[in-house]
Subunit: 304 residues, 2 copies
């Protein structure tokens, strides 16, 4: 394979080259390292990785769609990484996503990739980070990392983002008190979506109690009606406002450093997993407890 | 610490000794290996690890409660491992669980342990497996592994079980068609809970389409109204029926072998993680991409 040609096409925004590069990295092919090393560092520096998370039913997909619309109006090229939870129960969501995205599917400046959490989370985090950088190198100024659900897995994925918006809708308000600390740990912006529905005002007030600083309350809580596009332009302005702030005060760099360390660990673990699995298949283990067996397994690895 | 005394008390069913042993294993203390190696193998052989999973709202907690009641009526000692998803949104569930379990909290023959998925899943799976064996050694004939939610993480946890029941309730039926393959991969028994509610009949019929064999349809689908205790005794009989079947046809042993391998890998990965994290904190990495950095990191580990 001609890697330098692939890289050139990727940087020109050629959809097939981008898709191919992502697949090679996902599958940990030998070419992956060379591709990743050849990406335009300035574009990676300049991209904003925006995490969008929240419980199913809060309207994240519609909101993502509207945000993409706003970005495209401003001639901004955008990438979307949709993390599919791969749960049999919510399996239908993925299909919905795909249909939804058809609206932007013919737009060359909207790069879409779905990823499944089926398999190991560490591998997914590593792949998602690399995918965001490939999209950035292809000219995307913003990459939206959309996760369905807000379990621990989603939190881990959010750590890849420079900035995260938590999307809620009326009906989820009762848990706010319990989750206060959790929210602040994860979200820079709180979005009250479906703001035209009953209970939206109460949800907004509840969310207000998360912040003690009045300015935070003002700036970090946004209301939207994504289905009608209401409030989305303002949300996007806030996003860019916080990006600017975080770039200036060093928080963005700090998060990227942390994310670099965590991705490095994830990759290392994935590489070790492959070696351990191979060992496990060929090593006769003599213990009755997995913990002892694990130590035996590591000794054979160290003894190589 | 006097490990042999701890082990003796544990085998006598002494609650504090059991709790202490589990904590030592969870925290990967030095004593863990000795404790695990000292557990009664026959009791571990004889225990049934029953996975109970399903979406939030299906009534798993109530069903678990009723199953425990049925087991206790039969003088069977039982362990419960409740996996808390640690999601800020569903954080309230845990508290509910704890209150619910108060009913059995004073019963010395009901051993309860909650575990959080906060942190790494691999570590949780390893701990949950070891906890089930500690409970078994303490005399529990059945250990119920209750997980909230049915994402990928829950599937991974279910692999620890000898037998898994998927609990659904009316309102979740629409997804059945989409999740057919997924269900069979995970569940031995399908429980239609809240069978007195509207839509239960349809859900039952939908579930029937999952099985092509009429006998499977008959035996693997159970209906319950957990809130009233209806159908729970029958469900328990079915559980024991399948346990017997799986013990005889070798499926139980096969699952345990698979689970042994996967737990061994999880433990090994956890041990490696600790070493890698220490390395990461002290190694100056010279690459611009995490994947390369990971390789550098592994080289320093190998070079030891």
């Amino acid at each position: 394979m001609d890697i330098s040609l692939l890289l050139q096409q990727l940087h020109d925004g050629e959809p097939r080259a981008i898709a191919r590069a992502i697949t090679l990295v996902e599958n940990q092919e030998g070419e992956a390292a060379q591709i990743l090393a050849g990406l335009d560092r300035q574009r990676i520096e300049d991209v904003l990785i925006l995490g969008l998370t929240g419980p199913p039913g809060a309207g994240k997909s519609t909101l993502t769609d509207r945000l993409v619309g706003e970005l495209r109006q401003r001639k901004i090229r955008v990438g979307i990484i949709a993390i599919d939870p791969s749960s049999p129960i919510s399996g239908g969501a993925l299909l919905g996503d795909r249909i939804r995205m058809m609206e932007h599917a013919l737009d060359r400046d909207v790069v879409i990739r779905s990823m499944a959490t089926r398999g190991r989370l560490g591998g997914l985090c590593a792949s998602a980070g690399a995918t965001a950088r490939i999209m950035a190198a292809s000219g995307c100024r913003v990459v939206i990392l959309e996760t369905v659900g807000i379990g621990q897995s989603e939190m881990d994925i959010c750590r890849l983002a420079d900035l995260t918006a938590l999307v809620l809708a009326p009906g989820f308000g009762d848990d706010i008190q319990a989750m206060k600390a959790g929210i602040l740990e994860v979200a820079d912006l709180l979005v009250v979506n479906k703001a035209d529905q009953l209970g939206a005002k109460k949800l907004q007030l509840d969310m207000g109690t998360v912040f003690s600083d009045p300015q935070d309350k003002e700036q970090r809580i946004c209301t939207t009606v994504a289905s009608e596009g209401t409030g989305v332009a303002t949300l996007l302005e806030r996003i860019f406002l916080f990006e600017e702030l975080y770039r200036q005060d060093g928080r963005l760099q700090e998060r990227r450093n942390r994310s670099f360390a965590s991705e490095t660990l994830d990759w290392a673990m994935e590489l070790v997993r492959v070696r351990l699995q191979a060992k496990l298949a060929t090593t006769p283990l003599q213990s009755i407890e997995p913990q002892q067996a694990a130590r035996q397994l590591l000794q054979t690895l160290d003894g190589e």
